[in-house]
Each structure stands twice: as structure tokens, then as C-alpha cells.
Symmetry: C2
Subunit: 119 residues, 2 copies
DNA sequence: CATAATACATACTTTGGGGTAAGTACTTGT
DNA sequence: ACAAGTACTTACCCCAAAGTATGTATTATG
């Protein structure tokens, strides 16, 4: 989970951004290549780890759990593991994650309108 | 404006993300450290280049125009330059940019709720 | 005994977004 | 003559996010 140098300018700017701008605050949590896609899939229903993997063929396993862990740490998704073998792990949106649905939907709406040249 | 290697996996994945996920489509356009902040400021009214600079003290001039150019190329902001000297350049949201306001507001709402531990 | 399936972990490498620093053109004010 | 203000541009560097590749534990099944 890649250690972070606390002194770098980029980290200070990140902090600045988070304090100044609610939009940055959100981006910090759902940004990156894969998090939006994962959230989009989970917004359509709970999914097992392997289901997500199959649903997003282009993602590597490293990226998948890395982001799932971060989303879990950020309280956006909840991990549920049944103590069986082979493992059975389900991911679903938390309350905070569900709270993001209006954002997700607003984005989707804009995206489709923009794609169709509506602006 | 940093050349991009067209063959890299990361670029292919970006393309994949854009095609698969409307959320990624939006993030591609408003992502990064500074774009959200710039948009947030412009959402409160048109601004000159120097006004933006003063409004966001932590940003460097390189980052500021770089992102303004990208936002312009992405049709989110409109640049208007009066042919006077010293230069007088104004930036404002385009129709597509204005279309993003619901997204911005949904994000802001979520951010403030999350900050106050509402989830 | 070996392979498959599931859900990860971890060492190593790449790359592109962001940062630093300096320069440009043109005019007004002192 | 020189600094100050405005809106940029350009060359160079760094590092954190993303990618590659391989390994782990456990049990069922042929």
C-alpha cells in the first residue's frame, strides 16, 4: 500500500485541496482509474471478489484488492467474509457509499449527455 | 503539456475505463489536484487569470494555465481575451461546464455530510 | 499426488502527473 | 531607466500510482 512521504509538496497541496474544496475531498476517495468502475459495479448490487474480477477483465488482482482495501478503509464499501473454504467474500456499499449514489448518477447523466453532444 | 506514450497499458486501461464507465468519463475531465478547485471557483462566477491565481495561492502558474488549457480543450471552460495591454483574460464555465454544476453540488453535499460524520 | 478454485500478498519496474525555476512580451507609473 | 503587472511558456526533475510477475493457504476432486 505504498508508503507516503509526508514532507513532499504534493502532499501539502493535497491537504490544501481537501480543506479548500469539497470536490477535491470527494475525488480523493473515488479518484484513480479503477475506483469509479468498482463503485459503479457495486452500485448495481453486492458482488463477490471473483465477480468483480470477471466484471472488470482489464483490472489486475493487485489493483482490485488494493482499491477494495482503500475503499474499505475510507468507509465506502463493506467487506464480508464467510469463514469457509474456498473463501467466500462479498463487497457492498456502506452507508457513505450509498450516499454517493446521487453523485454517481449525476455524473452518469452528464456523461451520457456529453457523449451525445448535448452541450 | 507532457507527451504521452500511446502504447502503454495505462493508456489502454484509461480508454477501457472511459468506454465502460460514465463515472470514469467524468473523472477524466475533472480529475487531478487542481481542476476541481478551479471549477469550484469558476462555479461561483467568471474570473480573470490573475483572480484565480490569487484565489488559489498554492497553485503554480504552470499548473494553473495547464489545467485551464485542458479544461478549455475539454469544452468545460471558455477563455475570453481582450486584445489590450496589459492582457485581460477571463475564464468562465461553458454549457458543458454549467451542466456539471449538479455533479459539483452533489459532491459538495456528500463531502460536508461525510466531514460531519453523518454516515 | 496433483490440479483447480478462491482471495489475497509482495517484490520489483515503469511512467506520467505534478513541482521548480526561469524567461518572454508589452505597457504604464515613478 | 527601471520596476511592476499581466498572461503566459519552456526546460528539467521527482515520486507515487499503476503495472508485471510470482507466491501463499486451504480444501475438494479426479
Amino acid at each position: 500500500m505504498t508508503a507516503i512521504k509526508e514532507t513532499s509538496t504534493i502532499q501539502e497541496n493535497k491537504r490544501y485541496a481537501l480543506e479548500q474544496c469539497p470536490v477535491s475531498y470527494v475525488m480523493e476517495r473515488i479518484g484513480g482509474y479503477w475506483k469509479p468502475i468498482i463503485l459503479y459495479h457495486l452500485s448495481k448490487g453486492d458482488k463477490r471478489y471473483s465477480e468483480l474480477k470477471r466484471a472488470i477483465p482489464a483490472i489486475t488482482e493487485k489493483m482490485l484488492i488494493q482499491h477494495l482495501k482503500q475503499l474499505e478503509a475510507d468507509n465506502l464499501v463493506i467487506r464480508e467474509a464467510k469463514p469457509v473454504v474456498p473463501p467466500f467474500v462479498t463487497y457492498r456499499l456502506s452507508n457513505a457509499g450509498i450516499g454517493l449514489l446521487p453523485v454517481i448518477e449525476a455524473m452518469a447523466q452528464w456523461a451520457f449527455q456529453d457523449m451525445e453532444g448535448k452541450f
